[in-house]
């Protein structure tokens, strides 16, 4: 039942307030606190996690929560659908989706805070109060974004998330590259957010509401408008929903680093690795996909928008996976894998696989946080060396790091029974089912499927180069030790990455006929839910036909077998090429393709050209135009009046006699003129 119970839900705002308080405390007093301000953040995120778990428990108890906290502003609306007033407010929406995401975000944030003790404090970094303050603000923004109950609030915290990532990516501001990467991250996502903001404004102006849930939501209003065949801004309702949906999607593509806005993400590796973990697993990048899931009801109304989401997702999954194959920097490999994995989520959501998309979002949060923290641990081991060709043989020297990293790698590659397998398989199965009826989706599916092979390959290439074989540098032979603050988060996340998949064993459930698809039940309103925001409701709205090869079960098994086979094939290829004592670089053999991949398909080049080769000269031209033409007219006016008066002033000879003559002449002239007008000479 959709209930607006209070009880435990009254504490919901505290989830976001805790990190905000930590931010303020650390900002003001961080220098004087022990551990340079890490403790307030750890306590706050632990508190957030606790309250989030309470929320999950409350939702599991059959309740949901939707309330307005604070009215930001309200006024007369000019909506197309008849609403007379509009209210912009901050509210809390706790439903299965947001409760789940809250737990994910606060878990990852907590572990990142703890890990930072080992990664930042122990390494003697300066500026740590700033680091922890920004981390707190980041967590605050993301948590508030997650429980936002309307699109505008979501946009606002979406932007704050962008700000925080800007600050954190540029944490090492004394270098040249970090500020540049931070700027790029903010600008590219800002470009996406421009479309998002246009979308928010359009939706607000169309429906007179920006709420996500309930009768007052824009989703309901859009549904009614489509049913009534209303014309909105000169378009029929469904077209307009597609347009606005795609505008909002601009923000999603920016934040979730989907093609063509993915270029900022690899550069963002300039930030501390802990920040990368947070950005990739639970905050910035996750925000985009989460937003699609949050307003899935709206996208469900437009098959066109969904197909575009699916196609972009599938394309990005493959596109990014191929680039990851040739990277030498361990963080770069992970960066491209993030882009690729979020492509899968988009693919899942785009084909109407709401559960699959969210499932992969959850699993990915755990295993990607694990992999990044693991990479962070490797970087500590290697004395801040990130080139995988300088590593090797770390397996025996740091077993905890190795085994947890391996768990994450298996999950990422999608090897049964690690978490990534189950969710990726579900995404691909949903895509295949729809694809059998829709050629466009089938193409997206095919790309996603091929990407599985590359994923297996680059993941294990990374693992083998880093941990296996012989040490290829002196630091790799004598690695730096890591402390408990590094190991504890790794072990926690390693466990989660291994077992999180059991939340939704769809193929097993289908085979055995057992009711063990818990996540699906969770998102489908078996427990607490908000009317209209369930998998069931979405599934009814999505207009895709589904087809099967044989029966549903055979299709599912076929799909699962196909993806597992490809993943294993990829891993095996990596094994033969790189799991040798002295691995060689095979990438050169790719020839021209290697150059293209190494240059990331020249995506950066053309975007940098857009900024520096096009916009900047255009701005300079505008400046020249302004200085010469527009200001030239202004200065010309003054020059003309100056030279005019310069000519006239020659009358002032300084000789009194001339003045007297002028006076007399003027007087006589005036007399004549007046006389002529007066008719004296008529």
């Amino acid at each position: 039942m959709a209930a607006t119970a209070t009880g435990p839900f009254g504490f919901a705002p505290a989830i976001a307030v805790f990190p905000l308080v930590a931010f303020v405390i650390t900002l003001l007093f961080g220098r004087h606190l022990p551990k340079k301000g890490a403790l307030p953040g750890i306590i706050a995120t632990a508190g957030s996690l606790l309250v989030s778990l309470v929320m999950v428990a409350a939702v599991a108890g059959g309740n949901a929560h939707h309330t307005e906290l604070y009215e930001w502003t309200a006024g007369a609306a000019m909506s197309e659908t008849g609403a007379e007033t509009i209210s912009f407010s901050f509210g809390v929406l706790i439903d299965p989706l947001s409760a789940l995401m809250l737990v994910i975000v606060s878990t990852v944030a907590l572990l990142v805070h703890v890990f930072s003790l080992g990664y930042m404090n122990a390494e003697g970094e300066t500026g740590l109060p700033r680091y922890y303050a920004e981390l707190g603000l980041f967590t605050f923004s993301m948590l508030a974004f997650v429980f936002a109950d309307n699109l505008l609030m979501a946009f606002m915290f979406f932007e704050l998330v962008g700000l925080c990532s800007y600050l954190l990516i540029g944490f090492w501001f004394r270098t040249k590259s970090a500020p540049s990467a931070a700027k790029k991250a903010f600008l590219v996502t800002r470009f996406g957010d421009y479309f998002f903001l246009v979308g928010v404004v359009a939706i607000a102006a169309t429906f007179g509401t920006v709420g996500f849930a309930g009768e007052e939501s824009f989703v309901t209003a859009a549904e009614t408008a489509i049913d009534n065949g209303t014309t909105l801004f000169g378009f029929d309702a469904e077209t307009w929903v597609t347009i606005t949906g795609l505008l909002v999607l601009g923000g999603v593509l920016g934040k979730s680093a989907q093609f063509p806005f993915h270029t900022w993400l690899p550069d963002a590796m300039e930030g501390p690795t802990t920040v990368s973990a947070l950005i990739h697993a639970a905050t910035m990048v996750a925000a985009g996909v989460y937003l699609v899931a949050r307003m899935f009801g709206y996208y469900a109304l437009s098959p066109t928008a969904l197909a575009i989401i699916a196609f972009v997702g599938g394309f990005t999954a493959l596109f990014a996976a191929t680039m990851a194959v040739v990277k030498d920097d361990i963080k770069q490999v992970l960066a491209y894998s993030t882009i690729s994995q979020y492509g899968y989520m988009m693919l899942g959501l785009g084909v109407g696989g709401y559960v699959a998309g969210v499932f992969h979002l959850m699993n990915h949060a755990f295993f990607k946080a694990l992999l990044f923290l693991g990479a962070g641990a490797v970087i500590i081991l290697m004395h801040h060396e990130q080139d995988m060709w300088k590593m090797g043989g770390l397996k025996d020297k740091a077993p905890v790091v190795y085994y947890t990293f391996l768990a994450g790698a298996l999950a990422l590659a999608g090897i049964v029974p690690f978490s990534g397998f189950w969710s990726k398989d579900e995404v691909l199965f949903d895509a295949l089912a729809v694809g059998l009826e829709q050629p466009v989706i089938l193409a997206a599916y095919a790309m996603g499927l091929i990407a599985v092979f590359f994923t297996g390959f680059y993941t294990f290439r990374m693992v083998f180069l880093t941990f296996h074989g012989e040490p290829r540098s002196e630091t790799a032979e004598e690695p730096h030790a890591v402390g408990w603050a590094v190991k504890v988060p790794l072990i926690a996340l390693g466990t989660l990455a291994a077992v999180a998949g059991f939340a939704n064993l769809a193929p097993v459930a289908n085979l055995l006929g057992a009711d063990i698809t818990f996540l699906e039940f969770w998102l489908d309103g078996e427990y607490g839910y908000v009317e209209g925001l369930t998998y069931h409701a979405y599934h009814e709205t999505v207009a895709f036909e589904e087809g099967y090869i044989g029966s549903e079960t055979t299709t599912m098994l076929l799909s699962a077998g196909l993806s597992l086979g490809l993943a294993l094939a990829g891993a095996f290829t990596a094994h033969t090429l790189y799991n040798v004592p002295e691995p060689a670089r095979h990438t050169r053999k790719l020839g021209g393709a290697y150059r293209v991949l190494k240059r990331n398909y020249y995506q950066d080049e053309y975007q940098v050209w857009l900024a520096e080769g096009l916009t900047l000269p255009l701005a300079r031209a505008a400046d020249r135009f302004d200085q010469t033409v527009i200001d030239g007219v202004v200065n010309g006016t003054s020059r003309i009046s100056l030279s005019g008066s310069n000519a006239v002033k020659r009358l002032q000879t300084g000789i009194v006699t001339n003045y007297a003559a002028l006076l007399v002449g003027g007087f006589i002239g005036l007399l004549l003129v007046l006389g002529y007008i007066g008719g004296w000479f008529a």
Partner: protein, 509 residues
């Protein structure tokens, strides 16, 4: 009598400061300016007006006294506040106080004259925003120019004479155009008006409008006057292509003068547009909506592009003011509650944010003695707090949520998108919104080059932390920006209350 008290305190304070010794002038002016600031905050708390001053609304702190009789027309001392003018008065008093504090470091000659002029500007600015008689208003309007001319001309940079004269002549010529047009309008209204009181003229414009004057039909006259007044105010705002005085004036002006120039003086233009053009001529607004929206969009994009090409920090902020003022025009021409309300909010918000930005740039200049982006990098290393505030201000300028700039821009966009009055409003809005990308571009580009990266400075100065009295005013401004961003209804409620009568008439068209 409260408004008189405000103006009188500032004027007397100006006199006292003028004759005070240089040594104590700064502190004295600060102490004096606290009085109007506190008083205006009290006015804000005690505000009991409702409706629009020109549409028969309930005025707060109204006072009226006969002044001059010219023929059939009477001119009176007529002041009062409504929801549009009160926030601007508060903005003025607060910004003046902070500007005085921020001049303690950079101003080191003729202090008593400098601070006297600042207080004199304050008195006149309060007058501009509270006067409701055209002549009285015009006296204040023109009187603002003189101290600003002197501030730029005496304490300015190397090209101060050029900038000061350009500023003075340009805006003065524009005032002349506007003045002539308005007098023509009053004569055109014939017997229906007997005074220069703005409410009376606005009322007469609603009841049939002008009969005609100088051989022009009534409606033609109204259109001509509308265009002439629009051009007159456009220089002040400034709207492209009348903006070129602004960067020159800003670059040469001392920091506190820049703060007041961008923070309050530009708002005189948009305030006057709202009071005169957009209140008195709803039919002409509809007639010229598309061209006005077009130049608003051009102002936004073109101004931002110009800012992108600059390498002088002050010029960057100056051009970005042109861009931000374009948003205000777009909001006004939308003629919806959120559009006009958002535009009015943006006036206040931009006053705070641009004031903050100029102060921050000034603090950097005090330390480095250069404003060229190419001359420095890595300042965050040496002056972390000042740079932190600069970054916060820059993000405020970019419209970061929970800061006042976002609210102003969002409401303008929302109000403009669904405007009934403006044709193609979604396209205009979407085009103007692209400004938020470019603004992020040039500000982040400038930040990257100046405050980040390895520390480097081309000038021979030791850069240390800024003194407390440089930081404090910026912190106050930042606090106000965040306060208004989180709780915009503090002033938005009274703004909407004051603009609703205008919009309602527009809605009946």
């Amino acid at each position: 009598m409260m408004i008189e008290a405000l103006i009188a305190v500032a004027l007397l304070g100006a006199l006292v400061t003028f004759v005070a010794p240089n040594r104590i002038a700064g502190k004295l002016a600060f102490a004096i300016s606290l009085v109007p600031a506190a008083l205006s905050l009290w006015l804000f708390a005690a505000f009991d007006g409702s409706g629009n001053a020109l549409r028969g609304g309930e005025l707060a702190f109204e006072s009226q006294a006969a002044w001059i009789e010219i023929g059939e027309y009477s001119i009176s001392w007529f002041v009062g506040l409504d929801g549009i003018s009160l926030p601007l008065v508060v903005l003025t008093t607060i910004l003046c106080t902070l500007a005085i504090v921020s001049s303690w470091t950079p101003i080191d000659e003729r202090e008593s004259q400098f601070y006297g002029l600042i207080l004199f500007i304050e008195a006149n600015l309060i007058g501009v925003f509270s006067a409701l008689d055209f002549f009285l208003w015009f006296v204040f309007w023109e009187a603002v120019l003189i101290p600003m001319y002197l501030l730029i001309g005496i304490w300015g940079g190397p090209r101060r004479k050029y900038a000061a004269i350009k500023f003075f002549v340009y805006t003065n010529v524009a005032s002349l155009v506007m003045f002539g047009a308005f007098i023509a309008l009053v004569f055109g209204l014939g017997d229906s008006v007997t005074s220069f009181a703005l409410p009376e003229i606005a009322g007469a414009m609603l009841d049939g409008g002008p009969e005609g004057f100088f051989g022009l039909e009534g409606t033609t006259l109204a259109s001509v006057v509308f265009v002439a007044m629009f051009l007159g105010f456009a220089v002040k705002v400034p709207i492209v292509p009348f903006h070129t005085w602004l960067p020159d004036a800003h670059v040469e002006a001392p920091t506190p003068a820049s703060v007041l120039l961008a923070g309050v003086l530009l708002k005189m233009g948009t305030y006057a547009l709202l009071r005169f053009n957009f209140t008195m001529f709803p039919e002409q607004v509809e007639m010229y909506a598309v061209p006005i929206a077009a130049i608003a969009v051009i102002s936004v994009i073109y101004g931002a592009m110009l800012a992108l090409a600059q390498t002088d920090l002050k010029r960057i902020v100056a051009y970005s003011s042109v861009s931000s003022m374009g948003y205000v025009i777009l909001g006004l021409v939308a003629y919806t509650q959120f559009g006009v309300g958002g535009a009015t909010f943006q006036m206040v918000s931009h006053g705070l944010i641009s004031g903050l930005m100029f102060m921050a740039v000034g603090v950097i200049y005090n330390a480095t003695h250069t404003r060229m982006v190419t001359d420095m990098s890595g300042l965050a290393d040496r002056m972390p707090i000042a740079v932190g505030i600069l970054i916060a201000g820059a993000f405020g300028y970019m419209g970061l949520p929970l800061m006042s700039g976002f609210y102003g821009e969002f409401t303008i966009f929302f109000g403009a998108f669904g405007s009934d009055l403006l044709d193609y409003s979604p396209l205009f809005t979407a085009a103007a919104m692209f400004g938020i990308v470019i603004v992020a571009g040039y500000l982040l580009f400038a930040l990257q080059r100046t405050v980040f990266g390895p520390y480097r400075l081309e000038t021979d100065y030791e850069v240390g932390r800024a003194p407390l009295h440089d930081i404090a005013p910026m912190v106050v401004l930042l606090g106000l920006i965040i306060l208004l961003g989180v709780a915009p209804d503090l002033i938005f409620d009274m703004i909407t209350d004051a603009i609703d009568p205008i919009i309602q008439y527009g809605g009946d068209l």
